[in-house]
Symmetry: D2
Amino acid sequence: MKNTFGNNITITLFGESHGPAIGCVLDGIAPGIKVDEDYIDSLMDLRRPKGKISTSRHEADKAKILSGVFNGFTTGTPISIIIANANTHSGDYAGLNVIPRPGHADYTAGLKYHGFQDYRGGGHFSGRITAPIVAAGAIILSALNNKGIYIGTHISSLGDIKDRDFVNYLSDIEGLYDKDFPTLDEETADKMRSCIEAAAAEGDSVGGILKTAVIGVPGGIGEPWFDSVESMLSHALFSIPAVKGVQFGKGFDLANMKGSEANDPYRISGDKVVTATNNNGGINGGISNGMPVEFSTVIKPTPSIYKQQDSVDLDKRSNTKLFIEGRHDPAIIHRARIVVDAMTAITIADLLVTHFGTDYLA
Amino acid sequence: MKNTFGNNITITLFGESHGPAIGCVLDGIAPGIKVDEDYIDSLMDLRRPKGKISTSRHEADKAKILSGVFNGFTTGTPISIIIANANTHSGDYAGLNVIPRPGHADYTAGLKYHGFQDYRGGGHFSGRITAPIVAAGAIILSALNNKGIYIGTHISSLGDIKDRDFVNYLSDIEGLYDKDFPTLDEETADKMRSCIEAAAAEGDSVGGILKTAVIGVPGGIGEPWFDSVESMLSHALFSIPAVKGVQFGKGFDLANMKGSEANDPYRISGDKVVTATNNNGGINGGISNGMPVEFSTVIKPTPSIYKQQDSVDLDKRSNTKLFIEGRHDPAIIHRARIVVDAMTAITIADLLVTHFGTDYLA
Amino acid sequence: MKNTFGNNITITLFGESHGPAIGCVLDGIAPGIKVDEDYIDSLMDLRRPKGKISTSRHEADKAKILSGVFNGFTTGTPISIIIANANTHSGDYAGLNVIPRPGHADYTAGLKYHGFQDYRGGGHFSGRITAPIVAAGAIILSALNNKGIYIGTHISSLGDIKDRDFVNYLSDIEGLYDKDFPTLDEETADKMRSCIEAAAAEGDSVGGILKTAVIGVPGGIGEPWFDSVESMLSHALFSIPAVKGVQFGKGFDLANMKGSEANDPYRISGDKVVTATNNNGGINGGISNGMPVEFSTVIKPTPSIYKQQDSVDLDKRSNTKLFIEGRHDPAIIHRARIVVDAMTAITIADLLVTHFGTDYLA
Amino acid sequence: MKNTFGNNITITLFGESHGPAIGCVLDGIAPGIKVDEDYIDSLMDLRRPKGKISTSRHEADKAKILSGVFNGFTTGTPISIIIANANTHSGDYAGLNVIPRPGHADYTAGLKYHGFQDYRGGGHFSGRITAPIVAAGAIILSALNNKGIYIGTHISSLGDIKDRDFVNYLSDIEGLYDKDFPTLDEETADKMRSCIEAAAAEGDSVGGILKTAVIGVPGGIGEPWFDSVESMLSHALFSIPAVKGVQFGKGFDLANMKGSEANDPYRISGDKVVTATNNNGGINGGISNGMPVEFSTVIKPTPSIYKQQDSVDLDKRSNTKLFIEGRHDPAIIHRARIVVDAMTAITIADLLVTHFGTDYLA
């Protein structure tokens, strides 16, 4: 299913960066979930470019709901959302189907679509297409919160700068939604912003690592083969542009640990079974164990930079130089985090509904 | 789709470690592909435990094909494969549904299946269930080779020991199929084996990182949202027990690179467009670009160890100590690599057939 | 997949009769297919209510394409289409969630969506939701025509009146697209119209049987289990409101035939293998055999009638009488036929692309 | 998904008539369902050929469960079932890939699989492949019965002979499971048997119409587009060999009814809402309304007959005559009914689990 993801809750994405509108269809949502447009707007705002560390393309990004919501509640039928494209400078992108930008999808889009793709601004591959994901995710996120499930993502590292880890999960997560630049430690944010500004000053860009925690997921969710919690989340996360790695719990650091260190010992805590450590990120055998689901996602540096780069002229079949015009983000990691939250919300909700049935989220 | 993966080529897995048989159904395979049982056996042998660094459970692991192959060729109908379980010591596993092994799926299986799971030897969560994946992958791998597509996986790091990178992809890949312990540098293998033996001597276990290269994949394969090459491969790979992280190209190291370093510049090479570097692992915007598809997979240390561990008694709801009886692998990474190759073959084939149609592999 | 149909070409439907807009996302379409808006309009016009035999609700029904088309050609990315709802008289439908209309989905929608459904005008169950199917089908139908595949549907019976059978398939099919009231015999149309008008005069409604032929489908398409040509088409057709039966070839009449009569004998015709009869409707074992694919679909009489009916008051839990206000169709069969054509086009295209790959229709 | 059906409960079929074994994988079944092998055997027996009205191929048809059942209960993991092929006379089928049998899939299988298909006894298209469906359906049927849902199918017409309709649904359904030849009226059975024997005496075959009732299905199940109860059931039913038509409620007879006759009036009955008639077969807008789900399925006459038929020699590309050797059924309708019951059970269970969650059937 090409542009659709999910088993019982599904999202179907459509749109191009410079077409009339982008949007999505969110299906499988229980009837009776309250839809708060202000809340949707507030999450959309976390994705909005702001200040010197982001692109100067500014869009109202108002999510317009065409169906599936009636009198302020979900109806149970497909929720379609569209977001207008207004502030397009398509002229900036002329020729990118002929001289592809390194690190972007211009070249691969041409291979796949034989030159018929809408190449303006990255077309269907644009990071802009994540806006409808955030709108859809907002509807689900508020429903998950009502079930005691919370999702938060911070920038755990950017360049040499590292943020602290989650400690008090619930308050840490809630605090992140108040921040345009999501770190757990406030001083870290300043250092990271400075790092992005320094790269921007050189016409360059930076990436980083996002760390996400999901609390309140009941144990027993997911499938051994092949729809493990890890498989489903990674499938969703790797669809976000710029994501090149996903790891759960200690992830790649497990390569340097012994079994006796990596295993999370069980113990009784009140009336619950918990683990003393969470090296496995809340998942064993692909199934949630009731501990926080924790994972990291690496965001590569934004490929659009203000430096001359080597590329090719696909018409002339010759090497050439490219300098990309237009408006770029020197970093997108702070904007990407709410996309990760939204994509995670959709995926976790799908796993829950698969297990507990359609009406679970209502 | 719980125990099924793929869009147009699908694999459905079944079986428990101590049941009568395990197996799979491989569907969507073109008619007319030659099926070489010796080749299947040879790949099954790469997964087979051998020597001091593996479990002493020995199974013939002969893949018996029940359908979908006629006169030595695939028919186009579902290929069902079963592998008998013979050497089971089920007594070793009594009680593991009550006192779950840390790092294993015993506890989460109980949550999910409410105590009805076949807990013996890990049941449906056992690494043994990867054997049918290898048999199915072998059929596809030989078909891919006939199309000029080759897949190889080596242990890139284990503890502090690192293997060299792929240099001459084709010969490096071919060489790996001759090795029970897959490293590109022969001396590395000895050091890694020693490291595993040292851990085994302590009753402990180790993990490591596998690196995979796929060459010959045509450009233009995969979908932007949500069935990107990365999404599909990670979905498949995270289903393999012990995998806790997947990264493409430079992966998590991209967090420390600038855009000007991370972007892979295009250049003309003969009649082809190539990239000077391959930091993106042969994938841009989720679509293959014609360069080698490269990714790394972290394998956590085997959770079964010969050391006393903290666990809980789920009946008594109390803390307890656990010493695991039975036969364990102090490392599974060398056996897991052929599972990664097989899972990769199935996934790449699915993406190809989705693009080029059913008969592409014939 | 709730509101999505198809394996490799998919359509996702959204919208409610009295919401701001209805629409669909059509995915999996090859890049490079010419999109002719006039042709889309012409098929939309065949679905439009006209004259005394249809509802007086009139909508412009202009399909607006938001994505997936660039410079007049498909791009290969999802095609999203929206159609505004303008001429809504929502007041006519007040209370239908409390006193459900017999034969409609008012009652079952309430059961499924617990009262949160948008009940105005049938909401998501409205026949109006078929408009985006026609728009999407038009894009595919013109591509199929370019491949020599033609689809046509006529009213084979209405009341006691029967139309003649297809004789010269291609010209018969082409002729149907010139007719608002699709019969092969022109006099039949007049009789059927009179029959509808007579029912309308009594405040009643009629149904009938549609017969469809698809020519040019290559042999060898479809799957034995479970995606047979019959299974896929019936799945799609039974989603159209008012369809209560689907039969292929001689269908239910096969119950009265002997094997020696029902079997279609093979014979050589030029360089082709054909069958002397087509009792099996061009499908054997679920697979197309190269003969015309032929099937019939029964359309039940429109449930909205201008007669008092027995219903219940769901709030008071008591029996009551209902007289439906609003604008009704005394027959929808002549408007439904283009929906059948469109749904058939989408389904056949999906089967073809599954077999021959993404670019087949380009 | 080629040989797989279902959204949350899935069945994957494999096997060829003359291969080593046939079977299926049934996935998505709740843990904790009691599996009674005697009950499975009893349903398998209803499909078994017996007496003069069936083929003389006799198979033990013992369903062997390889996985997913432990200590007599389902585990929640995939249930794999295999059935050995023992009594094969493959010699009878030599050459059927060259001179295809009219009405069979020999010719279309060759088109689809390019001659690589296992053509012996119809291979993967054989009616024999329905045996695993019955075994899988038996597990589900007993779970449905525990939830108060019952499914029964009788031969409603065969030639000119008609059976009575369902009257007392529960006892009528229960009675059918005691009968090898399933009619509601006992005398009807004798007449129908005589009709089959008369056709057999001429070397010919007959078909007929099966009518199925499902009682106890809660209202509110199914999806408006595209997974309506009708769409899902017809998808499943049309995969059964020889099925060429499916209709719900009054089906094709609705073409001759007025809206005022066809609409099912609602009324209160005790604490329930019921309909006075059931012309819509328990389904409105694709959603169950709580009344019995009722549908008819036409079974074409068995294509294997003992009469010379016209066919073609595909090697010589010439017309030829064919006389089919081997063992045939002069009618399969009485054996097909339990396949319809099983397929219906799987489909209804899938719809229920999609709505109510994984554990609903436990």
